[in-house]
């Protein structure tokens, strides 16, 4: 690997379960890209599942014990924890916010998990690492294979953005973060109104028709805006966007399908470190 060891500074990283299984390419590409950008990721030892959803019950301390333990353990090793999966980010960031806002309940939780965490870890999404630590200008300067001419529709979904008061990553109505990253890779970023709408999430299991409608709206909107492909930041979004392409076609017979990628895959490709990625070949989407 060609990165500069002098600048080397590792960042504590929480990959989460899905990135070890279904969404491996999201993870592998992210690690390769981070290393090439001089901000290598170091996996948090002994991590567990984040819980996958932030509990909707107001007073469910037990559901927060898992993410709280992750945060507490990370704090022992550093001041920041980078995470990538949108669901993990949502759960960890909201748990962190909750622990800061409720010192009394934090004490109860600390007592239960046998830690002394004070809420002073910065949970950082991988996109924030690129924006704040690396800088999008630097990313652009490191691009060896500009994705020029590729019309990309950035898709944010819900978990990266909402609730904005607890996450604060980007404007939930008009997000720009993914688009700015993709622009720095040379892509032509496609504006379309459904970029921050819901993909249908777990309704794919309980009410598939509703999920199909949500996903179709996103796919058709991006296609209508002229996108060559759509880029996701969340394994569940990625799954839904891929799984419901047929139903989008049923709704709109002229829809010819839209490839779905993780943003890290395009990042790794543009940085020239995407060759060893598993799964489908990204070269398929490049315009000839």
């Amino acid at each position: 690997m060609g990165f500069d060891y002098v600048d080397r500074q590792t960042h504590l990283y929480f990959p989460g379960c899905t990135l070890s299984t279904k969404a491996r390419s999201l993870d592998v590409a992210a690690r390769a890209a981070a290393s090439s950008l001089g901000v290598p990721l170091q996996e948090l030892p002994d991590w567990t599942c984040c819980g996958a959803t932030f509990p909707l019950a107001v007073d469910n301390l037990m559901a927060l014990s898992g993410p709280a333990r992750i945060l507490a353990d990370a704090r022992l090793l550093g001041a920041e924890l980078v995470t990538l999966c949108a669901a993990c980010y949502n759960v960890l960031q909201r748990t962190n916010h909750w622990l800061r806002a409720q010192p009394e309940k934090r004490d109860t939780l600390n007592y239960f998990i046998e830690r002394d965490y004070r809420g002073d870890l910065r949970v950082m999404h991988y996109l924030e690492l690129l924006r704040d630590v690396v800088g999008f200008e630097t990313v652009a300067a490191r691009v060896v294979r500009p994705l020029a001419g590729l019309r990309v529709a950035p898709y944010y979904g819900c978990l990266l953005l909402r609730p904005p008061g607890e996450l604060g990553l980007d404007d939930p109505e008009r997000p720009t973060l993914l688009g700015r990253l993709l622009a720095s890779l040379g892509c032509q970023v496609v504006e379309y109104p459904m970029a921050a709408e819901c993909c249908g999430s777990y309704l794919a299991v309980s009410a598939p028709e509703a999920a199909a409608e949500c996903t179709s709206n996103v796919l058709l909107s991006a296609a209508r805006a002229g996108a060559d492909c759509i880029v996701a930041a969340c394994p569940l979004c990625h799954f839904n966007l891929g799984a419901w392409q047929d139903s989008a076609r049923q709704r709109h017979p002229s829809f010819g399908g839209l490839p779905v990628y993780y943003f890290t895959e395009l990042l790794a490709l543009a940085l020239g470190v995407g060759d060893e990625l598993e799964g489908q070949s990204l070269r398929d989407v490049m315009p000839s």
Binding site: P163, P164, G165, E173, R174, P193, M194
Partner: protein
């Protein structure tokens, strides 16, 4: 004892002498009182049913310096007061303690009582043995009696050292400053001026009228806004007791009720309004077109402009940001065309300094900013507009001459979606307002009705949270709107996005439980009313309170709705909270009535129990200056020439006697009149039985 000089009595109290009204040290010869009378009130069973009042009086009679002690069923009654007066004469009393209800109830009563018997009012104190004793210790009669005795004992110690004081007298300059020239400020100015008092009206924009001048018709009567407003504007402009200073802002305020010293800065208009005849030739010839903010950007104005053809004053101002001369040094067409040579590119800012007895703050509202309403596409798509912009489309004087045409392509919209509570009533969203803006339900009903009148085959939809139509004729008006064919949908809108030349509106109808999708030609947002920009800064300059949203805080939410937290400064209109025109006019007239009541007296009296500084002890450290919440403190030269350093001075007119400075002063140089350190120590000793 009446021969001692009154506080501030030797000071120049003329209206111009703002800031010279300094607190004097007490006369050194104050002698402790030796013949104090104690009067214990039963308050029927309120006190007498719990506290053994006879025992309290008997115990008090034993104390040093007490010449007389007694009790009575209702001390505040006429015979009760006579009893006190008789005792003062019979026993030659020089101080009085009344053990009764809270001093907030009857301190003034009993002080007047002793004045009639020849004592100084401040030689009378009230020991609270009701609210702080009998009412809270109902089941503990013995302990309550002990506590009452201790309270009386402490108050005797206070009275022993009380100095005789005279109320401070503050002169009143009977001239009012009104800040803001919308309907609130205009109404207040007219009411005050018509009662014969002088008014200066300051407006930030080049002409008066405010937001009301932008409106088409008004609910619930559908009166034309311009038709009822412009006569008022003209009346303000021509009134011999109102001086209008537009294109100007209040820069600084000092002083206090009765004499505020105010500096007003007027930004240059680059047109000499003395010479200008308002002929309009300059505006006709100016080559530069700019989106007109008066038309919410839907129409255009020139770089030399008036807000509207009905502007008062009807004199133009040059917008230097867009003027070719100021930007590129070319053009000067207006200057060449002006028949009277009124255009003056060298005009600078002018500053006025004046003294006012009272101030009315009527700075109004603004609508919620565009950039924070992403889900509606507001600011992104031209056919998503706010309610004020729709008013301009409806107004006969507006950019479309009253025809409803949408901004993007001038098409008459056939489907119009009105969305209420945009930015209002969204406590769960950061940066959005939790409160109800109060006027949107009614103006949306009005706008939808007017749209239906102008486009009879068009369909208006209204997304609402719940229709709030509280007001005379309001509910009837809303019902009529529904009957005219306005379709009301209860629910919020999730997203507005363009598709083709239309806007797709995704919403919910929570009555049917269905999601709704409407393809609209125009979307009108009833955006929240927010405080005028700069209201928090103005509040700081005026030393009045404002809430977290920038709305000025009234002195009492029920009983003092037009008074600010600072005496002599009154609130009118939406600067205090969102309200409609009718309520604004009532509020403004209320403020004017308060000003006139103030001006009905030539001087004001104020409690003399304020802070003073012992200049020989003061080290001039200045800690008390920021500690004072009323800005009644500053550092200045010591009065005695042999004190070579600066000392703290108290402005007695501003001081409210809160004691923050006393607690802050490391040298104990700050003292409160009649709550001196030695009085407080004596009271503590009396309460605790500890005598050192």
């Amino acid at each position: 004892m009446s021969s001692q000089p009154p506080v501030g009595g030797d000071r120049d109290l003329s209206a111009g002498a703002v800031g010279s009204f300094l607190s004097q040290p007490p006369a050194p010869s104050t002698k402790p009182r030796r013949r104090i009378g104690v009067f214990v009130c039963w308050c029927g069973v309120n006190i007498g049913g719990v506290v053994d009042v006879e025992r309290v009086a008997a115990e008090a009679a034993k104390l040093r310096g007490v010449a007389h002690a007694t009790h009575y069923r209702y001390m505040c009654s006429e015979p009760g007061q006579r009893l006190i007066q008789q005792a003062i004469a019979d026993h030659r009393l020089d101080g009085v303690v009344v053990a009764a209800c809270s001093p907030r109830m009857h301190e003034t009563t009993f002080r007047s009582t002793v004045v009639a018997a020849g004592l100084n009012p401040y030689a009378c104190e009230v020991a609270n043995v009701r609210e702080q004793c009998s009412w809270v210790h109902r089941g503990e009669k013995e302990l309550a009696t002990e506590k009452a005795i201790a309270a009386v004992r402490a108050m005797i110690e206070k009275v022993r050292q009380d100095e005789p004081l005279e109320a401070l007298r503050i002169p009143v300059t009977p001239k009012a400053l009104v800040i803001g020239g919308g309907i609130a400020g205009m109404q207040a100015a007219l009411d005050i001026a018509n009662a014969g008092r002088e008014v200066v009206l300051v407006e930030r924009l080049p002409s008066i009228g405010g937001h009301m001048a932008q409106l088409a018709e008004t609910f619930p009567t559908l009166d034309c806004s311009q038709c009822i407003l412009t006569p008022r504007m003209v009346e303000v402009g021509q009134h011999r007791r109102i001086r209008l200073i537009t294109h100007a802002e209040v820069e600084s305020v000092s002083g206090y009720v009765g004499s505020f010293a105010v500096r007003i800065g007027r930004r240059p208009t680059y047109v000499d309004w003395e010479k200008c005849t308002g002929c309009g030739l300059c505006q006709e010839r100016c080559p530069t077109k700019v989106p007109a903010s008066f038309d919410r950007g839907l129409g255009q104005r020139k770089a030399i402009y008036t807000l509207s053809p009905q502007a008062v004053p009807n004199k133009p101002a040059i917008d230097a940001e867009h003027c070719l001369y100021f930007q590129k040094g070319v053009c000067r067409v207006c200057q060449r065309q002006c028949p009277v040579g009124a255009v003056d590119f060298t005009q600078g800012e002018t500053t006025f300094e004046e003294t006012f007895g009272a101030i009315v703050v009527a700075t109004g509202y603004e609508t919620f900013p565009k950039d924070r309403l992403g889900e509606y596409g507001y600011g992104e798509h031209p056919d998503v507009i706010d309610g004020l912009a729709f008013e301009r489309l409806l107004a006969a004087s507006g950019p479309t001459a009253g025809e409803v045409r949408r901004p993007s392509d001038g098409k008459v919209p056939q489907e119009v979606v009105f969305i209420q509570c945009v930015g209002s009533r969204e406590p769960e969203r950061d940066g959005r307002m939790p409160y109800c803006s109060r006027v949107c339900c009614m103006y949306t009903a009005k706008q939808a009705t007017l749209y239906k009148h102008k486009v009879p085959d068009g369909q208006p939809y209204v997304f609402y949270t719940d229709v709030r139509a509280a007001g005379k004729g309001y509910e009837e008006f809303y019902r009529a709107a529904e009957e005219e064919g306005v379709l009301y949908l209860r629910g919020r809108v999730a997203r507005v996005f363009p598709e083709g030349d239309q806007l797709v509106v995704w919403g919910a109808d929570t009555l049917s439980g269905k999601r709704v999708e409407i393809r609209a030609d125009l979307v009108v947002l009833a955006t929240a009313m927010v405080a005028s920009p700069g209201s928090k800064e103005l509040a700081q300059r005026l030393r009045i309170a404002a809430d977290e949203h920038g709305f000025y805080t009234e002195a009492h939410p029920k009983l003092r709705p037009v008074e600010s937290s600072t005496p002599g400064i009154y609130l009118a209109g939406c600067g205090q909270a969102p309200r409609d025109i009718a309520d604004t006019v009532a509020h403004a007239s209320g403020a004017a009535a308060k000003v006139l009541a103030l001006f009905s007296r030539s001087e004001l009296t104020q409690e003399p129990t304020v802070a003073w500084v012992d200049e020989e002890v003061c080290a001039g450290c200045g800690l008390c200056v920021p500690a004072c919440p009323y800005e009644a403190r500053r550092l200045d030269e010591a009065r005695e020439l042999d004190l070579r350093h600066q000392v703290a001075k108290v402005n007695a007119a501003l001081c409210q006697g809160c004691g923050a400075c006393v607690a802050t002063c490391p040298n104990k140089a700050c003292q409160l009149r009649n709550t001196s350190s030695s009085q407080v120590m004596a009271m503590i000793e009396a309460l605790t039985g500890f005598t050192g």
